[in-house]
Symmetry: C3
């Protein structure tokens, strides 16, 4: 497997999971998700422990799920509550695998590996998605590519010039110096553009026209997410790359979850601290962002097909790829640490 199993992954947007079961394969494992009557999410292997019919085809009864084949009824803990023959004594040892699952920052997070290690404190800190004074919304797309190709894509925004020419691509981005930095399991690719004219989007966000300092900080967040801190501040505020919290700021949120070795779930959105009382802006921006990501998807899926069609060629890394290369190194290091412990 190319991914880390002992880690929290986004399994769904909060609003995708309701009382009725839904099916999604996370890191190669078919999972069924639903909410209990009290709203807490439940995640279970999507296969009845009896004859393996997907439980997501089943019937909800209170907080329990009944398989639609022979009627084995399982509680939210995955364990049998009623046998197919109701007269048979219940064997509590019959259980579907359950997964640790936590709702936080607008997402349902799932731990696919060893449940004993599933510490909610390890959930990536997507704070702008749930902080007061911030607004967050976005969408979901399945993508037919290795999840690491998406990380590469997002850790190097020079691709915007060609993939997104006509939308967000700007030739200026190609010329701003970047700095790449690794901190623990995080990788940061930073651009600081002092004293520039704000482009239309940021002029609107700022609410006025003046010279600004502008930044773009791509952050790889293990196991496989990217948050991009973007924004501007009037020059007179005197902010710096190290301290720009007071600026007009957005976070492009990219939660990336492997489905299989060649497919992934893409949860994308934007959190912002400006125009927070303008729901029209939220809708317009989400529509635009969806369009931009559709361009990425076309490229990523073509790239994946090309990798399969050219087995004798390897991906190469240049200077601009340093962010992606270092993010992959973090993933490899964490995977190997796990393997070493297992050996």
């Amino acid at each position: 497997m190319s991914w880390i199993t002992d880690a929290w992954y986004v399994a769904a947007w909060d609003g995708e999971v309701g009382r009725e079961p839904m099916a999604r394969t996370i890191c190669g494992k078919p999972v069924m998700l639903y909410r209990k009557l009290d709203g807490t999410p439940v995640a279970m292997r999507d296969a009845c422990p009896h004859r393996m019919l997907p439980l997501s085809m089943g019937i909800k009864e209170g907080d329990s799920i009944r398989c639609r084949y022979h009627g084995l009824k399982l509680g939210a803990d995955g364990c049998a509550e009623e046998m197919p023959l109701r007269t048979d004594p219940v064997n509590k040892g019959i259980c579907a695998e359950t997964f640790a699952v936590v709702e936080r920052h607008r997402f349902i997070w799932l731990w696919v590996g060893d449940k004993a290690k599933a510490d909610p404190n390890l959930i990536p800190d997507f704070w702008p998605c749930s902080a007061p004074g911030w607004v967050f919304d976005g969408g979901y797309d399945p993508v037919a590519c290795d999840y690491r190709l998406m990380i590469d894509n997002l850790m190097d925004l020079t691709h915007e010039t060609y993939v997104h020419s006509g939308s967000i691509g700007q030739i200026e981005l190609m010329e701003a110096p970047i700095e790449t930095r690794v901190e623990g399991d995080g990788v940061f690719v930073s651009r600081w553009m002092p004293g520039v004219e704000p482009p239309p989007f940021w002029r609107l966000a700022l609410g006025r026209d003046c010279k600004v300092d502008r930044w773009q900080v791509c952050q790889f967040v293990a196991p496989s997410n990217v948050m991009i801190d973007v924004g501007v501040a009037p020059v007179e505020m005197g902010l710096t790359l190290a301290d720009h919290d007071a600026g007009t700021r957005g976070f492009v949120i990219d939660a990336i979850t492997p489905e299989s070795e060649t497919s992934m779930h893409y949860f994308w959105g934007m959190a912002r601290n400006f125009l927070t009382d303008d729901p029209g802006f939220t809708v317009r921006f989400k529509t635009q962002q969806g369009g931009v990501f559709a361009q990425d998807l076309e490229v990523l899926e073509a790239q994946q097909r090309s990798i399969a069609a050219n087995p004798d060629i390897k991906l190469r890394g240049y200077n601009i790829d340093e962010g992606g290369v270092r993010a992959r190194r973090v993933i490899d290091r964490l995977r190997k640490a796990k393997e070493a412990m297992a050996a």
Copy 2:
């Protein structure tokens, strides 16, 4: 292979095979079927012994088949009667593999294994399909699942409650005790429900309203078929599970033929000894039965996909699965006996 090769399998309904060739893959082998002028069926490997074009694409000439590529003409015995170049001497050693094939009980039966052992006396005794005083009709569906999943399904009718809720499912079935019995290569799962109210279907079949003894006997018939003896008799007739031939009786006929490891041919129908002069009943019942089986197919194909998607999980058996478990044991025993003989 998960199936027994030295055995008779249903290859087609009698009415499916005519003068023109048809193609069907039986136990992994592409087969072409047609009838001779005298009506007897012929089965041949569906590949010309010359350049392998499917013979089912060929041209019938009398009882012979001519390949539509280069015109090699083969007799009903599979052997060359005319070479592509008509001036070339006929090489009688050029032959397509033929299969032993017998028409009986409304089906065309085919023996895929060693032809020397193809004894027609070994054809499963589907007597209700052809006995005087009985009427038999049904349909055909291809199903994308391991043929043994269908056997499991039919040897345990408790699934009716959930899969067929809204049609034939009845909660009472879950409460009647069952008895499982193995006799030679047969497995019997029997339910005897004495002194019950007949459900609407059986009231209609019986032609009157009175307390009845009711039964359901699922019989696994090697290599891979299931016959389900269902019916009722007025209590005053005093019938028993061991002796209920005089009752109002139907046999649900399920001829199950492997196509590949993950697909099968399903020939289904009902033979009955009541309302035998009511063709309208035949049509209505066949339509209803097709609808019920469509519900099974949805479940069986989802189950097959789930087995592929969850390779680390195994099918488990509970009490209600005893019939299917024992049928699989018969199949395994017959397969191993064959292998032992081959070794």
Copy 3:
């Protein structure tokens, strides 16, 4: 691989390749083709040496191609001219694989193997496709079969009787004696029909009605092409099989290029030395020829599926197959010679 790599293959019709890049997989290698401003064709591995996006999705800039992902710009020699970050120094060592490519006889020929050996003198001599006094036109079809099945098909025209009954099939062809001859890497299957009535097609071509000598010479041209010399001459001209250049003559041109082990590119057409100033004839004949080949494709793709479905059966050769059998032997001999040199 079932094909010879050190050889010229037709990659495209001349008119298929223009200024914009096109993608085609040749002998298992994804290739991008385009023309430079001066019209000369360029062929490059269809994967950017940076992150492998197909270059055929890229942007043409003069004679160069710029990858649409990060903007790496490659010259027609495949080598980097501009890095994604324009400020980065150009690393001329970054190159996409290029292929030797030559335009000749209306086709773009490509050498997939060792470029040092790509001698244009080795391009098959399709002289009737470009000779003065001759007219040549045709079409293209992808075919889902092993390319050798197409060679077999064309080296034995007895299949016309059955595959093309209703169009060009004539029972007389089955009776004319054939002579098969190997000359170096060429295989010739010849039929000479002296003093026959010309069929309608040849009467039209000839422009009058008289007894003719008629011929059909299938020529296998390594690595994988077939040219069929067909025609008639009035008996009084006294031509012979060895010397019939003065006749009314056409060449059925079949350029056959492997795509994968089970798929190929088929470039077909007819070159003729009669009715050369009648473009209406060209169009009508091309339409008819396309219809005839569509019948072949149906058979060839069914044959390929049958080969996959009957892994225990082998293709057999009879007398009529001698041309195809010998052509395959030439291919095998050339492949082994290459392997011996490599060892």
